[in-house]
C-alpha cells in the first residue's frame, strides 16, 4: 500500500533532473566565462602574471589578448587584479559542447 502511494506521489512530482543544462538558473555572481573589453585594457599584463592556470596570454606590442577556454579554471583572479575592470566574468555556464579552437593548449 505504501509503495503505491509513494509511486503515485512521485508520478505527480516535478522531475529532479533538468533536461538542458543551459536552462538552469545560475546566481548573479556565478563564475562562468572570462570576457575582456578590448578598449578598456591598458595592456599592463597583470592578468597574465596572476593567472594560476596560465590561460591568458597578452602581448603588449601586438595588442593581442588570447584566452584559452579549456585551461581556465574560472577562479576569478584576473577580474580582481585588472586595474581598469577590462576583464569581466560573466555568469554564463560552461558549454557541454566544445569548439575545436577552444581545445588548443
Amino acid at each position: 500500500m505504501g509503495l503505491v502511494k509513494y509511486a503515485l506521489k512521485n508520478l505527480l512530482r516535478r522531475p529532479a533532473t533538468v533536461e538542458d543544462p543551459a536552462a538552469i538558473p545560475v546566481p548573479d555572481d556565478y563564475r562562468g566565462t572570462v570576457f575582456m573589453h578590448r578598449d578598456e585594457c591598458i595592456w599592463c599584463l597583470r592578468c597574465m602574471k596572476a593567472c594560476p592556470a596560465n590561460s591568458i596570454i597578452v602581448d603588449r606590442e601586438k595588442e593581442v589578448f588570447v584566452y584559452k577556454y579549456m585551461k581556465c579554471i574560472t577562479c576569478g583572479i584576473c577580474e580582481d587584479v585588472c586595474p581598469t575592470d577590462a576583464i569581466e566574468i560573466l555568469p554564463v555556464p560552461r558549454e557541454a559542447k566544445y569548439k575545436r579552437e577552444w581545445l588548443e593548449y
Binding site: 594560476p52 592556470a53 576569478g76 580582481d80
Partner: protein, 356 residues
Amino acid sequence: MPTIVPFGPQHPILVEPIRYLLALEEETVVGVEYEIGYLHKGLEKAMENDYIKDIYFAERVCGICSMVHSTTFVNAVEKLAGIEVPERVKFIRTILLELERLHSHMLWLGIVADSIGFQNLFMLCWRDRELIMDILESLTGNRIHFSMNTVGGLRKDISEKGIRFMLGNLDRFALSVRKIENSLYNDLTVLKRLRGVAYLTREDCKRYGVVGPNARASGYSNDSRMDGYEAYEMIDFSPILKAGGDNLDRVVIRMDEVLQSIGLIRECVRLLPDGEIGEKYKRGVEGETFFRCEAPRGELFYYVRGNGSKKLERVKIRTPTLANLAMMEKVMIGLEFANVPATALFFDPCMSCQDR
C-alpha cells in the same frame, strides 16, 4: 595455493582507479596488495610556486572537498605570516566547511548504497545532495571549487539572501535525511549486508593509523576539529563516537555527523558577526609550519615552508584517504569476495586526493 585475482583499476563499482591484488582461497581473501598512483598530478611540485596561486592548486587536490584543502593551506600561510583573520571570516569558513561535509557524506552514502545493490537510495541521496550544491553555488558562485579563500581573509562576502536560501534548503535537507535514515535502518537486507562486516577494533585503528569517521566508528577518537581552528573553538562541539566498528556503524556515524553538521551550521549562522572580511596579504613568508583540519574523510595535514619570498619552498599534503589505505590490508583479509567491492568503498576512498 591461493589464486590471485586483480580488482581494478577499472571496475564497475569503482568510480576512480585503484588496483587491488587479492589472494583468494576459495571465496575468502587471504592476502591484499594495492597499487595506487593512477591519478598522480604532481601537485606538490606544482605548489613550489607563488602562494596566491597555490591556493587554487590546493583547492584542486580533491574534487569533492575543495574548501578544506584551501582552508588548511591558507591557515598554514597565515600562521607563517602571523595574521589573525576577522571573526566573520572564521565563521563563514566554518559554514562552508560543514556544508562540504554534508555533501561529501551524502555522496558517499549514495555510492555505498549503490554498491550493496540499493539503487533507489543512491538516487535519493544524490537528489538531496543537490540541495546542498545549490546552497554552495548561491553562496560562493561555483559548485565545487569555490575560490573563496585568500591569505588574510575571504575574497567575497556572503549575502543575507544567500543565508536565507541556505536555511530554507537546510530544513528541506534535514527532512529528507530523516527519511533516508528511516528507510535505511529499517531495511532487513541492508542490515544483513552491513552488520558485522569488515570489523575493526579500537586497537586496530591505532595500529593502522586510521583517521576520520572510520576511526570514530570504532571508538578511536581523533577529530582535528577539537584543535579549535576557525570557529570551532567558539561553538559547542564534540565529536560523535560509536563503538561497533563494523560497516553498519560507519553508515550510522556519517548519518549522525550529517545531522550534527546541520546543527553546527545553524549555530554558526546564529552567531555570525558583522564586520570585515579581511585584507589580502601580499608580502613574502618565511619559516616553516604545519596545519591540520578535519576533512570529511579525516585529518588533513599540510606542511608549508617558505624562504622569505612569495614562492614557497615546499608544500607537503597528507590526505586522510592515504592514511586510511594502510588498513585495507587488515580489513580485507577474511572477507567473502562478494563483500570486497562494498568494503573497498566503505572506507570512503577518494583516489584523486590519495594520489595528489
